[in-house]
Symmetry: C2
Subunit: 323 residues, 2 copies
């Protein structure tokens, strides 16, 4: 577990989203909703990079602080959306890969650097795009393949957060990096099942290290397990003797699952990253107390999918506190 | 720049390599050389993961310390070789992506965590494999395409290092994360040119931040610029008023360039990562003083290559000291 000597603050957060995200229950919380998911770019991949850059620009409107270091990653092979953002920002860049767990991983890293005085302000950025993710991991959309009932809809959005040592809530006191867990799921359209065991593993390790119980937190968020994965998460936790009544999955929240035809819910790096600023932080600040966010990542690649290898999962955790 | 409050130590290093690496000038320095680059696996990608795992096992033979955190990354899309290693080791895993700059990036991160007391011992791991890299970024070997004169040969090897707070040289006092620099190179067979400007950028920023000159260091190593990229590095540095007489490129060292038919030299995450333990550290310990290692990464992806986008570069720096 990472126990920071000096708590740090998420001083500002911004998120920009696509049309479908704008129609979801938290649509009005995005700083900008774009009608055109291409943002005038020539490819989905470049459009995703543009979302990221725009999220940072919105963040810069909310805080006058500027980062001396950035931690960014995304789902594109070799994290190219983040590379494009780092190229435009021209600040020292620490590229990370944690799939959809990226935002918690980047905040854990940034918090460690800021708390230790190795960075004054650190920027955390991530993104996902439905079209670039489908082309990369599953089937290019042009093929018109049928979506499976366990599928989740990759959120088209980007989020940017600034970590500083300011004495302003929400605070990060503690965080934990996840272990890679593999339950031998091989279906890239069933990511919730691939990630749920990792979330349980991280939660158990965290509660043991902090000598706390699930009920000590106002809510325990997971990143993007979706309906199926969330059910599995609660069942696996129960097997380990943990009743997690206060579990909320960002993937189950970001869309109106029935109305918006997203099968098991939302997924993607931008799922928990967007809801962190739009829902989790504002609710924490009004309710007080502490919440946990475990962003969950499915560590597949186009090559491992093609080779029909199993999909390992990982879950990184941050604890957010109003005090 | 990252200025550590407490210096940390690279307490042990291990590297395992393939047949061609074994025939290079530093072949005898590897802990193991394998005759079969497949290591009995069914794919090149799995073989690369096996190299990584074996490097960690060799490291564990050299030190009784065990890590509480690992920083790992590689060239495979979504860093799957590192995911496989993290799955087998079952320790908290912070996945990073910096292409061939991975080892300097991971050491900068691990040093920061250990120095700040957030980790007792951290493991840094990386790998590259000629066959998996060619298939992914250029042309599958089976196609028998002709290699260009600016091409470099991806090193088939893996390296693992342990960072601890022990009072034993070599020490890390300082490090620096690179910025992403793009000189509009679009040829994936000319990576040296894509990375050289990033190395110059990092070096200039580092010398300014530390108020030092190139001659204050016994040697200034770059990761894998190769012959063409190294020449470009020295020319670009000279343009900026820097004479770097003590520059050594790991990509020019790891093979006998003429004898081994590797065109411009070696490349890949494992190039500077292997030579760090085999050559750089032993020479530093016998000569004393300080050296800089800037591992250089070309941030291309199979998709950006297909879309004929330019290849940005990055260079992360660590300063190694005998005192």
């Amino acid at each position: 577990m990472i126990l920071l000597k000096h708590p740090v603050s998420i001083i500002a957060a911004a998120a920009v989203g696509g049309k479908k995200e704008g129609k979801g229950p938290y649509g009005s919380g995005f700083d900008v909703i774009y009608d055109d998911d291409m943002l005038g770019q020539e490819s989905w991949e470049l459009a995703e990079a543009e979302f990221q850059h725009n999220a940072v620009q919105k963040l810069y409107e909310k805080t006058s602080l500027r980062p001396d270091l950035m931690f960014a990653g995304d789902l594109q092979s070799q994290c190219t959306a983040s590379t494009a953002t780092a190229l435009r920002l021209q600040i020292p860049h620490c590229g990370i890969y944690g799939a959809c767990s990226t935002i918690a991983q980047s905040i854990a890293l940034a918090s460690s650097f800021v708390s230790s005085g190795l960075s004054t302000n650190s920027l955390c950025v991530t993104s996902s795009h439905y079209c670039s993710a489908e082309r990369q991991f599953r089937t290019p959309l042009d093929y018109g393949s049928k979506r499976s009932s366990t599928a989740q809809w990759t959120v088209t959005a980007a989020a940017a957060l600034m970590i500083s040592g300011a004495k302003k809530p929400p605070f990060i006191h503690r965080a934990m990096f996840g272990r890679v867990i593999d339950l031998e799921i091989t279906d890239p359209a069933n990511m919730g099942a691939a990630m749920a065991p990792a979330a349980v593993d991280t939660l158990i390790r965290y509660l043991a290290a902090t000598v706390t119980n699930p009920c000590d937190y106002r809510a325990i968020y997971t990143g993007d397990l979706g309906l199926h994965g969330s059910d599995m998460f609660r069942k696996l936790a129960k097997k380990e003797g943990l009743i997690v009544d206060n579990h909320i999955d960002c993937g189950c929240e970001i869309y109106d699952i029935e109305e918006q035809e997203v099968e098991c819910g939302g997924s993607g790096c931008a799922c928990s990253a967007s809801l962190l600023g739009i829902k989790i932080i504002p609710e924490l600040l009004s309710s007080g107390g502490k919440v946990l966010l475990m962003s969950t990542g499915a560590l597949l690649s186009p090559i491992t999918v093609g080779q029909q290898k199993s999909i390992p999962g990982i879950a990184h955790l941050i604890e957010l506190s109003a005090e």
